[in-house]
């Protein structure tokens, strides 16, 4: 039960929790939050994989940075879409 395995399992649990939230919740802001949690789960798996070798694997770190930027741009779009969806007053 090394540290890497512990964080791998933790990442998988976060990913499953996010998936569960995405399937179950109805309020769109909460679903966006659960997609973010799912993303953090995958990133934790990737960083744990990177931590296997003595000096951490730079490719995985670069991929997670890319994933983070992709996640925030998708979240920004989804949030603005969910807000614009209900704005009856101003349109």
């Amino acid at each position: 039960m090394t540290q890497v395995l512990f964080y791998l399992i933790l990442g998988v649990c976060l990913w499953a929790l996010g998936l569960y939230g995405l399937l179950r919740l109805k309020e769109s802001i909460r679903r966006i939050i659960s997609v973010n949690i799912m993303g953090s789960g995958v990133f934790m798996v990737m960083v744990a994989l990177a931590a296997r070798s003595e000096d951490p694997d730079p490719v995985m770190h670069a991929l997670v940075v890319t994933g983070l930027v992709v996640a925030i741009s998708a979240t920004a779009f989804a949030l603005r879409l969910s807000v614009a969806d209900v704005q009856e007053d101003d349109q």
Binding site: V42, V45, V59, L81
Partner: protein, 474 residues
């Protein structure tokens, strides 16, 4: 390889210039689509002459760098997506009814084409994740163009697409964890069938099936495509759903070990048949014209899924040709069907199928385009659809115990004939009195007819087509 690179970078540059100049002129986009088509055609010629080529980005050695791979099938897909883009750009600029003229449709469609070309060329698992994300965001942005009524389905499409990308990404992480390499062709040499690989491949498959709206995960597609503007739904149905299918094909035919592929083949084939039957059934029952066409997309993708499943199950590379002919034929037919349906709906002013009564009188050309495209979807003899179905059926005739697959295809053809003739039969009734502001757009009708005729012409060039797709020498 330079031609393919030009076909990839040209749309990206145009999109950036359009944004910088804040111009919304369709002419610039049409010219670029034409140039991209020429570049793609040149790359097709280049690849048929001196064979497949690789381009390591930045000249780094293989395991590290991302590699662009130019195969005959990739060049053909580049030509196919450039053709569809050119058609839709001309429609969006030319037709009166298209609502997308004064919006950001132009840079978004250029970015869509750029990301699709990047997807066809790339061979790296994580690079595919980024291109899929780019594709998904562009598609949702285009769906959201048609105003407030499209925000709900667009948001649902976006969230499911993000979830599917993360399912795919977890598969990629596990595959990288297990083999330490991201390039698909290098992976192909290293993979062996153990639990981690099986789970990683199934995760990637589930993520991609949701993004390609394949059968069990297709529920978001009809609402998203029906509420999108006509030009956008044509783009989405013909091109965007094909990207993930291409990755699925590369994953299973190139990346996965054979016993894993043989084990997963029947599951995908059965899902294909289910897509055919259930997709067709909902297309038969839906009262709305555009969601009928959208459901038919789900059904037709069942053919492609079945071809992929059988390809893996019997390890028969000849079925590649069937799979990609289905994709090409369906893309062309669906583009013309959506343009025709959009025109019919815009001129008659009603979304229902029942409003199409007597359109052969009022709008003969649009209805003819719809019927011809429907013919190719069913697979009537000289069309591209028939060619693909024939190639799919050929290996099944060898042994008698393949009969369940043949019955599946038969049922699928019956149901697709059902929902196409449901519309065409209605069109031959007596026309209701025409609404006062009835102004059919002749130019758009002829434009919708063009791809339908091209798909029927596929049979004429079937010999070189099959040669390109299977790599069998002429």
């Amino acid at each position: 390889m330079t031609a393919a690179l030009i076909a990839l970078l040209l749309p990206l540059f145009t999109a950036l210039c359009l944004l910088l100049l804040r111009s919304r002129s369709g002419v610039l986009v049409i010219v670029t689509s034409l140039l991209t088509l020429l570049a793609a055609a040149w790359s097709l010629y280049d690849v048929t002459v001196n064979g497949p080529q690789w381009l390591e980005l930045g000249d780094w050695p293989p395991p590290l760098a991302i590699r662009f791979q130019l195969q005959p099938i990739t060049a053909l897909l580049l030509v196919f997506s450039a053709m569809i883009h050119l058609l839709v750009a001309v429609y969006a600029a030319g037709s009166q009814h298209s609502k997308t003229r004064y919006t950001d449709f132009w840079p978004l469609s250029c970015l869509l084409q750029g990301s699709l070309n990047a997807l066809w060329l790339s061979g790296d698992l994580f690079n595919w994740y980024v291109t899929l994300e780019l594709l998904g965001l562009a598609a949702v942005a285009l769906v959201a163009l048609s105003g407030r009524k499209a925000y709900g389905p667009a948001l649902n499409y976006l969230l499911l697409s993000l979830g599917a990308s993360l399912v795919y990404l977890l598969g990629v992480a596990l595959a990288y964890g297990r083999y330490g390499v991201l390039d698909i062709s290098l992976l192909g040499a290293m993979t062996e069938a153990d639990t981690t690989t099986r789970i990683a491949w199934w995760l990637m498959t589930l993520g991609l099936m949701l993004k390609a709206a394949l059968w069990p995960f297709h529920l978001w597609l009809p609402r998203a495509h029906a509420s999108a503007p006509t030009a956008v739904s044509a783009l989405l149905s013909a091109l965007v759903v094909k990207g993930p299918l291409f990755i699925l094909w590369r994953l299973w035919s190139e990346g996965a070990p054979t016993e894993l592929a043989v084990e997963a083949g029947p599951v995908l084939a059965v899902a294909g048949i289910a897509a055919l039957i259930l997709g067709g059934w909902s297309a038969l029952r839906t009262p709305w014209l555009k969601s009928l066409v959208a459901y038919s997309t789900v059904a037709q993708l069942g053919y492609a899924l079945m071809a992929l499943g059988l390809l893996m199950y019997w390890q028969l590379p000849a079925l590649d040709a069937a799979l990609w002919l289905f994709v090409l034929a369906h893309g062309l037919a669906k583009a013309s069907m959506f343009l025709a349906a959009g025109e019919l709906q815009a001129s008659l002013g009603s979304k229902r199928v029942s409003a199409l009564r007597g359109t052969t009188e009022t709008m003969p050309v649009a209805m003819f385009a719809f019927a011809v495209a429907g013919g190719s979807l069913i697979g009537l003899p000289p069309s591209g659809g028939f060619l693909a179905k024939w190639l799919l059926l050929e290996p099944m005739f060898e042994t008698v115990n393949h009969w369940p697959w043949v019955v599946g295809i038969l049922l699928g053809t019956l149901i697709s004939a059902g929902y196409v003739f449901r519309v065409v039969a209605l069109a031959f009734d007596r026309a209701d009195p025409v609404p006062p502001d009835f102004s059919p757009d002749r130019f758009a009708h002829w434009l919708a007819l063009l791809p339908a005729l091209v798909v029927w012409g596929l049979a004429l060039i079937s010999e070189p087509l099959i040669h390109w797709l299977t790599g069998v020498p002429l």
